[in-house]
Amino acid sequence: MNISERVRERIIIWDGGMGSMLQERGLQPGELPETWNITHPEVVIDIHRQYIEAGADIINMNTFGANRLKFPGGEGGSVQEIIRAAGQNARRAVEKSDTDREILIALDIGPTGKLLKPLGDLDFEEACRIFAEQVIEGERSGADLILIETMSDSYEMKAAVLAAKENSRLPVVATMVFDEKGKLLTGGTPAAGVALLEGLGVDALGINCGLGPVQMKEIVKELLAYASVPVAVIPNAGLPRSENGKTVYDIDAQAFAREMDEIVQMGAVIVGGCCGTTPEHIRCMRERCALRKPVPVTEKEHTIVTSYAAAVEIGRRSVIIGERINPTGKPKFKQALRDHNIDYLLREAAAQQEAGAHILDVNVGLPEIDEPSMMEDAVREIQSVTELPLQIDTSDMEAMERALRIYNGKALVNSVNGKEEVMNQVFPLVQKYGGVVVALALDENGIPETAEGRIAVARRIYDRAAQFGIGKKDILIDGLAMTISSDSRSALTTLETISRVKEELGGRTILGVSNISFGLPARPGINAAFYTMALQEGLSAAIINPNSEDMMRAYFSYCALAGLDSNCRDYISRYAGQNGQGTLAAANQAQKDTGSDTSRGGLSLGQSIQKGLREQAASEAEQLLKAREPLDIINEEMIPALNEVGQGFEKGTVFLPQLLMSAEAAKAAFEVLKAYMARQGVAQEKKGKIILATVKGDIHDIGKNIVKVLLENYSYEVIDLGKDVPPERVVECALEHKAALVGLSALMTTTVPSMEETIRQLHEHVPGVKVMVGGAVLTEEYARTIHADAYCKDAMASVNYAETVLGKRG
């Protein structure tokens, strides 16, 4: 069936609540409603029949929670048995009911009840497999369409829609739960939800559960403003309250129907009921709404990229894409990639967000590394520290597909161009996973020299994209900034391209701005001027360095001048308090002055460390390097300070936050010394390798991370395997690195057994290795019984033990 065609004719009526109806019929608290497909089929059939007779066009199979996590097989029945029985019950009800309307049966898929990684412990691909199992059995059991509903996590919803699309050709409707503030439980907005779902190619989308129709209206308005597919609205019977252990809802059938009628007039074309609604609600709703003429569904022209929480619209005010996560011309970045040093990337991400970027470009291409897996790790990790949407920047198609697949949201894709071969590779990925794609206005014949030529390529790209179902709004034409040092008219060509894409083609544009000045001195000035000119031509997005104050000032100034910053609010909040020229230099000077003031006030490096002052520790280290050798500074200034803090912690006069702040200050000073030593070509001394891991099943890693910070301070090379680490992986790593010491942490009594198993395997396969353990539930004695070599009650204890195993410094 084709949903879009059907809603052109008339409103589609979905059925009402199943779980709450089953509770009325005796379902016990905590009992899984899906089991009733097998244990009480007559009740399930009867409820379906009532809904059909009340006027539902679509009924849901009783399969909301019929997944492998809730039905692992055995006594309660397998997923397949439950879904098969549910399908039979639905069909039986259609046969029994007294209607000549065509009734459709939907496979109902709710969330798994688990949180996906990195927040929870369910792997994204595992979630896809769980949903796939439901989809396959649902289609086999006679479903006419698939409803993915009650989704409050954009990532889980993506897994479910992908599973449906990959395993069936049935139409897919996906509905989300928003709270009264219009947010998903995981923070997403309606616009972000629409962008994600349309990108994945659903046939209709909407909202269900969580709220009653009254509270939903504002959110429905938002959905309708952004959605180009039909919108479904399936509310609860008002808001719930608990009465004598029972949940009751506050809206009766008549009031429900009245509200739904308004929602239909707003533009929703698929309506039904969720928790607490009854056949009576559906009957009244049908009476009022079914004969309304559906509001036509129209194409919306918003260009939107999203993360799990944020939606960034491209095309209103120009957006800034941070270009710093890219190894080109950055030796330190390249080294970080070779070392798989994700922390380095995370710091770049945080700094650019701080500086005002709206989207972050991610490029990790380096010939000698495994780019696809690095890209996947980088995207996952960067998404765990920032809500900014990402731009996946790679020419490696495997890296692009893996990144787009695991990306939580609708990404910006960098890039495609007019070459047939490239379009044939990139567009299918964008078609499948969704995305806004950067399209370079060049093709097999190279870069057209004229704007006319570039516009022609842009037209061809639009046409080809349309064949893949990708609309103009999801393409950003890159007008190609080429250096003016080799062609003095190249900037004008680029600007003309930008302007004509906007005016003639009605499209959106993007530029890598700084290319314009390649080969020239004093580039920031030229770049900023060109940026301003491009903004004036209507540039939709720019890939720039947000840490460059020239660029940011050009941006904020332009927005203020172009009437895009009401009351100059953003400009003032950024620059208030700064006087005219050279503000940045002045600010830097001021900072330096305070720095040296303090040091004149007598704070040495050691004191800065003890007080946990990062900037001061770093600048003191810089000062000391003018007169002394790095190793002297470490041994005579830093180590004594760290020892004093450590001893204070053990005595109970220094507390955990101070201990860590000191460690972080010391780390900042170490970075300065390390950079100096690298410049001088001095080898850096490391005392030995220590492997740290939070054991399998445990995803609480705060303790382990505290230990890591301190051990690094004492010059140990820490190999951090992260959380939820299987024993085999720890053993493998210990063997590979010939580590003499492994530190394990476990937070829960339930995960101590996997700690014990890890210790057993380590002792069996890695002769001589020592294992130290820690964690909230452990004690000295408990540690002994699981055969740990040492119990560390806190982070300092682990440093002390490491020194006994690997030796003290010097």
Partner: protein
């Protein structure tokens, strides 16, 4: 709703290991302040509770009709009660993301943020109790919150509570395979309600009710 004005500095410091006599330095106080405002911005506290009649309490078991809990400590905690509320509360996944972010970026802030979160969820639970009290109506006295994992109340009962309250769907609270709550800044608890006049002497509250005498956070 949770009101950050109720968060007590002294409690936050206690979670960070400070005893009453210890004086924190300004840098730590500043960081606490910073984390408090961050948390205020990111948290989305949510709760769900249901109140059930207690069918019977014998030594070592509590019978709720749909479920029988085996736990001497819980039975003792609920002695004299005729109703019990199941409560689940969470600061939400935005909070969890914030905590996990700082664990990657800056551990000192992560540790301070955790302490602030602990105080926030405790105070939020207090406000949930007030809601439960008003749902019960006049004439009821509440027992201290008692959570799976306290004493001999099996941690495994967490699964039932999560299921009965449908927390994944209602408030986004889930369990890992190892029974860890996610988002981690969350609480589940059973709260007994006794009719006011028939109520026996108030049992030990808070730390004094707990058997873990060597706990670092014990208040005495």
């Amino acid at each position: 709703m949770a009101d950050s004005k109720d968060w007590e500095l002294r409690e936050i410091l206690r979670y960070l290991g400070y005893k009453t006599k210890d004086v924190p330095d300004q840098a730590v106080l500043d960081m606490i302040q910073e984390m408090k405002s961050l948390l205020r911005e990111h948290m989305q506290p949510r709760r769900v509770f249901r109140i059930f009649p207690i069918v019977g309490i014998e030594e070592g078991t509590v019978d709720l009709g749909f479920s029988v809990i085996r736990s001497k400590n819980l039975a003792k905690n609920l002695a004299g009660c005729t109703q019990a509320a199941f409560l689940a509360a969470t600061l939400g996944s935005g909070t969890e993301r914030l905590v996990q972010k700082y664990r990657k970026m800056q551990m000192s802030k992560a540790v301070v943020l955790e302490a602030v979160c602990t105080e926030a969820i405790e105070k939020y639970c207090d406000s949930c109790e007030a809601e439960i009290r008003s749902a019960l109506g006049e004439g009821w006295k509440l027992r201290p919150r008692f959570s799976p994992g306290y004493g001999d109340f099996p941690l495994e009962y967490q699964r039932q509570m999560i299921g009965v309250l449908d927390t994944a769907k209602r408030i986004g609270l889930t369990l890992t395979d190892s029974l860890l709550m996610m988002p981690s800044k969350s609480v589940t608890a059973v709260i007994g309600a006794a009719a006011e006049e028939g109520a026996c002497a108030e049992p030990n509250r808070g730390c004094r009710a707990c058997e873990k005498a060597d706990c670092a956070y014990r208040k005495d």
